[in-house]
């Protein structure tokens, strides 16, 4: 018996020794800088990632034409050492530096950028940020027009081509088509999406017809217009296929000069050149995808350790899924002398309590805001805490396609019944700013419109009664959908409770895990759903172009033809002014001001001043659009603007909790970016300070 027991114990000891082998080599160097990243990154392919955690890694492993200055977050020379903008503000010329290299020694050339951006626009790739590049001439044609044309003209898989549908409707309704049927048709065929940007007046009128009946004459005219539009798109797509990357849109002139032609002056273009979707990828590792729908990209593992080649300040050391990722300084980086950390460790911890504990015990130097909500008040008092306003909005979507929220009065009533100040003061407690509009404050040149949202329970009750639910009677049972997350749950439960008490309606919170929640939002299977949106770039457009009819990010069923028009027009104000803006301007809330600004654009003496005047008109138009959202429509209920908080140890230098602009003034780090290529650890402070 003893021997058996001893035998078992011995076996176990051996096994434990073997187990020790699973522990990573204890003799590796400790990292200089460690931070918690929140989730395990899905991928490291700059064209395919979308989250902030992946973004931090992409910023370390790759570099774009420009890179962000750590202190001011403004674009500074990256791969491109210099650049210039043409007079008419439509053409950028970038000069690439010859010493920029990939980590395998090859030089980074303009051809790399052309290839990478073209790849991103390939429809079959499914890049979620492809739309960022649509500001380039021909890009949208390359990316979308083939699909658009097929949907308009056919043959179309799993649906009716639009033209065929209109023909059918004309046959079925010879005396005129009721608007309701038309709207339903537009919705099923996603016509708005496929006809976006169509200049044909027949199409435009038909698309914005929402009441009454459509006469057959209009439908007949529309068929012709659709044919023309479909063919136009086909030919533009063919042209783009042939010329995009060669002499249209973006192309190289030699190895070190990159020309980018924009469709219209775009003030934020330089900002997106330091945003990861526009980073180059090593094309010899990423096999080109074949055209059509079949992807033959066997090398979708090119970004894995051992094979990843990047041109950024760091290289990928090892990557243990759900374990740890190590980035090491890249000696081939053109500016490697300024990189002062040798190894950076990244922990993908998603349990917020564990993340906080790792920081508190000194195993991580930076915790970007992943901690339990309840501790906000106490953490705020620590010296290593930081908070800055964010360019992001936390809001609730309404399902405008279903009762009871198909009535704008009900939506407004809900918005008025809530005291946002209470939420930020007592529940979220990170110092957020209560929000009554989508676009957060802090965007230069943008003047927010008045909002009809405030804390006014009396008016809310009145509106609710007007809508047919006096004192909440007859109001159907609704729920607030949110994804599984403690913070969202608390806010949702609180909001539900307040609304129930104030308006006497049956409402409660309901959580779902991420996939189901996304699905239900997209399929409009919800009543109210929690959402958030972080600006992709510092411009109002990123918050406002979401709400166009059937827009991919709309997901509310709200539709307003004037709104669609304004957003479409803002993509190219100069053409809009030239084409005759009056009938649109007349429908605005402040037409006089808009007319004056449009006149200024028309009267501008040269391209530069025209572009400037155009920017002002654009800002005003955005203001009008947002007014439509928050004075009339209320498709969403903003709650607050995010505050980005975190904890960082005092020995982490050049972190920039607050930005320092080139002229020396301080500014808020709205985008919550802390690139670490300039970060260094001060050994004296580290030795001095105790970990707690």
């Amino acid at each position: 018996m003893y021997r058996t027991l001893l035998g078992i114990l011995a076996a176990f000891a051996c096994a434990l020794l073997v187990v020790g082998l699973t522990f990573s080599a204890a003799s590796e160097e400790a990292a200089d800088y460690t931070f918690i990243n929140g989730t395990e990154p899905k991928s490291l392919d700059p064209a395919l990632i979308t989250g902030q955690p992946e973004g931090r890694l992409a910023d370390a492993l790759f570099e774009g034409l420009t890179r962000r200055n750590t202190a001011s977050l403004k674009p500074e020379p990256g791969v491109a050492s210099a650049w210039s903008l043409s007079e008419d503000k439509r053409t950028w010329t970038f000069t690439l530096r010859p010493e920029a290299r990939w980590s395998d020694g090859r030089p980074v050339t303009a051809h790399d950028f052309v290839w990478s951006w073209k790849r991103m626009l390939e429809p079959a790739l499914g890049s979620e940020y492809a739309y960022l590049l649509h500001v380039i001439r021909g890009a949208e044609a390359y990316n979308l027009y083939a699909a658009n044309a097929t949907c308009i003209l056919g043959p179309r898989e799993g649906g009716e081509p639009i033209r065929q549908g209109v023909e059918r409707l004309l046959r079925e309704h010879p005396d005129g088509l009721p608007a309701a049927t038309w709207e339903a048709f537009l919705s099923t065929t996603k016509a708005q999406e496929h006809l976006k940007g169509c200049p044909d007046p027949d199409v435009l009128t038909a698309l914005s017809q929402v009441t009454g009946t459509l006469p057959s004459a209009m439908l007949r005219g529309l068929i012709g217009a659709l044919t023309r539009e479909g063919e136009r798109r086909l030919s533009l797509h063919a042209e783009a296929l042939e010329r995009f990357g060669v002499d249209l849109g973006v192309y190289a002139q030699g190895d070190h000069t990159l020309i980018v032609e924009l469709g219209a002056p775009t003030p934020y273009f330089l900002e997106i050149t330091c945003f990861y979707p526009l980073y180059p990828v090593p094309r010899w590792l990423v096999r080109p995808r074949s055209s059509g729908n079949v992807i033959k990209d066997e090398d979708q593992d090119w970004f894995l350790p051992g094979t990843l080649v990047g041109n950024g300040p760091f290289r990928l050391g090892y990557w243990r899924v759900n374990g740890k990722m190590r980035l090491s300084k890249s000696p081939s980086y053109w500016n490697h002398e300024r990189v002062r950390t040798k190894h950076v460790d990244v922990y993908p911890v998603d349990n917020v309590t564990t993340a906080l504990n790792l920081y508190l015990t000194g195993e991580a130097d930076w915790l970007p805001g992943y901690y339990p909500l309840e501790l906000s008040k106490d953490l705020k008092l620590r010296p290593d805490y930081y908070a800055h306003a964010g360019l992001s909005t936390y809001f609730y979507r309404f399902n405008c396609a279903k009762k009871p929220f198909d009535d704008a009065r009900v939506r407004q009533a809900i918005c008025l019944a809530l005291d946002r100040q209470e939420i930020v003061e007592h529940i979220t407690q990170r110092g957020e700013i209560p929000a009554t509009r989508m676009v957060p404050p802090g965007l230069a040149g943008y003047d927010s419109p008045e909002s009809a949202i405030a804390h006014d329970p009396a008016k809310a009750k009145k509106l609710l009664a007007e809508a047919g639910y006096p004192d909440g009677r007859g109001f159907p049972e609704v729920s607030i959908l949110h994804n599984t997350h403690d913070g969202h749950k608390k806010v949702a439960e609180y909001v539900a409770d307040v609304l129930k008490r104030t308006l006497n309606i049956p409402i409660k919170a309901h959580n779902q895990e991420w996939q189901a929640y996304q699905d239900n939002m997209r399929l409009l299977k919800y009543d109210i759903a929690r959402a958030g949106w972080i600006a992709d770039y510092p411009d109002p457009n990123t918050f406002l172009d979401m709400w166009v009819t059937n827009g991919g990010n709309n997901q509310t069923g709200w539709s307003n033809a004037l709104y669609d028009r304004i957003i479409a027009v803002c993509a190219d104000v100069e053409s809009f002014v030239r084409a005759g803006p009056e009938d649109t301007l007349a429908r605005l809330k402040e037409p006089a001001k808009a007319r004056a600004l449009a006149a200024a654009v028309a009267a501008a003496p040269d391209a530069a001043s025209r572009a400037e005047a155009g920017a002002r008109l654009r800002a005003h138009l955005f203001r009008e659009a947002e007014a439509l959202l928050f004075q009339d429509g209320f498709p969403v209920m903003p709650l607050y603007y995010y505050v980005n908080t975190g904890l960082v140890r005092p020995w982490v230098k050049e972190f920039y909790k607050e930005l320092v602009l080139p002229d020396g003034t301080k500014a808020q780090n709205l985008q919550d970016l802390h690139p670490f290529h300039d970060v260094w650890i001060d050994p004296e402070i580290k030795a001095r300070e105790r970990v707690r």
Binding site: M1, F12, A15, L16, V19, L21, T22, F23, S24, A26, E40, K42, S43, D45, L48, T50, P123, A124, L125, G126, E128, Y129, A130, Y131, A147, E157, N293, V294, I295, D297, Q300, D301, W302, F303, L304, R320, V321, N322, G323, K324, Y347, V349, N351, T353, T354, N357, L358, L360, T361, E363, E513, W514, Q515, A516, Q518, D519, N520, R522, G552, N553
Partner: protein, 371 residues
């Protein structure tokens, strides 16, 4: 409809194994075992090495394995197939679509992605593709959420981690449980008995994440003796293993206690005592044996529980083990990972149960002999 028929067919096939004659079972089992080895070796090394590896395995199985093991093998392989199918059905029934992206909904892109990952919208079609990939290429498929990685790449490194954690937990549970249980059983209904049992009960009176969080709070945060989370040394092993072990220690303690009481009441104990053997020897030799038997039969389900309950512990302590893969991939609708994890898990569990069965059989006659 097709699905229901397939399910019934599968079940009928599995049921039919009961009626297979012995030599047929033997043959099938040897073939299956050889086939499995072939499946693993073939894609990497080619047909010749594959045959070189699989034929001896089949022969060994044919000659050396007892008949019950043969039956088990046939049963296991068929039920694994059924398991894959049922899991596939369940997953496809759940709402959610991993190929839809947050920002843009594009049908063309989704179709392309489905083609690439081999995940058609229909469950049975997916099952077909999956089994084909598994049998002809020995591949468990690609992961959807962790791009560029195969399921094997992701799960296999996690397996030794979970194994280490599980084994350590099992040993702690057994040691602690036996100690408390035998102590209690030797003096039944005394204060010491009730005290030990009450102590053991703590383990099953609170969910393990509560106990784990308390451990972390005391040992890691307040006292700083052990790390808060992570994996990379024996220090990281202790707290999570202890957390996992406690509930099972409690169960084992009860079993040990029951077994000890039963044994101590037997006549041969009185005989041994009257022969003049020291109390100690009596206890160690006989009571332990009596206590161990029920514990051994519990080891199978205990191991099962530990491996799965480990998800919560792994999440709490940030351990890159297999438990995480189950739930995370189910939540993310990462189909191939879910199936791969299920396959590997069930295979391990069945093998473990088989070993426990054999251990039990080996222990039992020995005890009877000695008495």
């Amino acid at each position: 409809m097709v699905e229901a028929l397939l399910l019934l067919g599968f079940l009928a096939l599995i049921a039919s194994t009961l009626w297979w004659p012995r030599p047929f079972v033997r043959l099938m089992s040897a073939l299956l075992l050889g086939g499995i080895v072939l499946m693993f070796v073939l894609p990497g090394r080619g047909l010749v090495s594959g045959l070189l590896a699989s034929v001896p395995v089949a022969l060994v199985a044919w000659f050396l394995l007892p008949p019950r093991v043969h039956r088990r093998v046939c049963f296991m392989v068929l039920t694994l197939g059924l398991l894959v199918y049922v899991t596939t059905l369940l997953m496809f029934l759940a709402p959610g679509n991993p190929f839809r992206q947050e920002k843009q909904a594009n049908e063309q892109v989704e179709a392309a992605l489905r083609e690439k990952y081999g995940v058609p919208p229909n469950a049975t079609a997916f099952f077909g593709i999956y089994m084909q990939k598994l049998l002809t290429e020995g591949s468990l498929g690609p992961s959807i959420k962790n791009q560029g990685r195969t399921v094997a790449e992701l799960i296999l490194p996690a397996f030794p981690v979970s194994l280490a954690l599980g084994m350590t937990a099992l040993v702690i549970a057994a040691a602690l449980g036996l100690f408390l249980g035998v102590r209690a059983g030797l003096k039944p209904n005394s204060l010491s008995d009730q005290g030990s049992m009450a102590l053991a009960m703590v383990g099953i009176s609170l969910p393990n994440f509560v106990i784990g969080a308390l451990f972390v709070s005391v040992f890691a945060l307040q006292l700083g003796w052990l790390p808060v989370a992570g994996w990379g040394g024996y220090r990281h092993l202790l707290l999570p293993a202890l957390t996992l072990a406690l509930p099972y220690a409690a169960y084992i303690a009860r079993l040990a206690r029951g077994g000890t009481i039963e044994v101590m009441q037997q006549d041969f104990i009185r005989t041994a005592r009257s022969k003049g053997l020291s109390e100690r020897a009596v206890v160690l030799k006989h009571a332990l044996k009596g206590a161990i038997l029920p514990v051994v039969s519990f080891l199978g389900p205990a191991a099962a529980g530990i491996f799965t309950g480990s998800f919560v512990v792994e999440n709490l302590f940030g351990i890159p083990g297999m438990g995480q893969w189950f739930v995370k991939s189910a939540i993310n609708r990462d189909y191939s990972v879910v199936l791969g994890a299920a396959l590997i898990y069930c295979s391990i569990l069945t093998v473990f149960n088989l070993l426990v069965d054999m251990a039990y059989a080996w222990l039992d006659p020995r005890i009877r002999e000695e008495a």
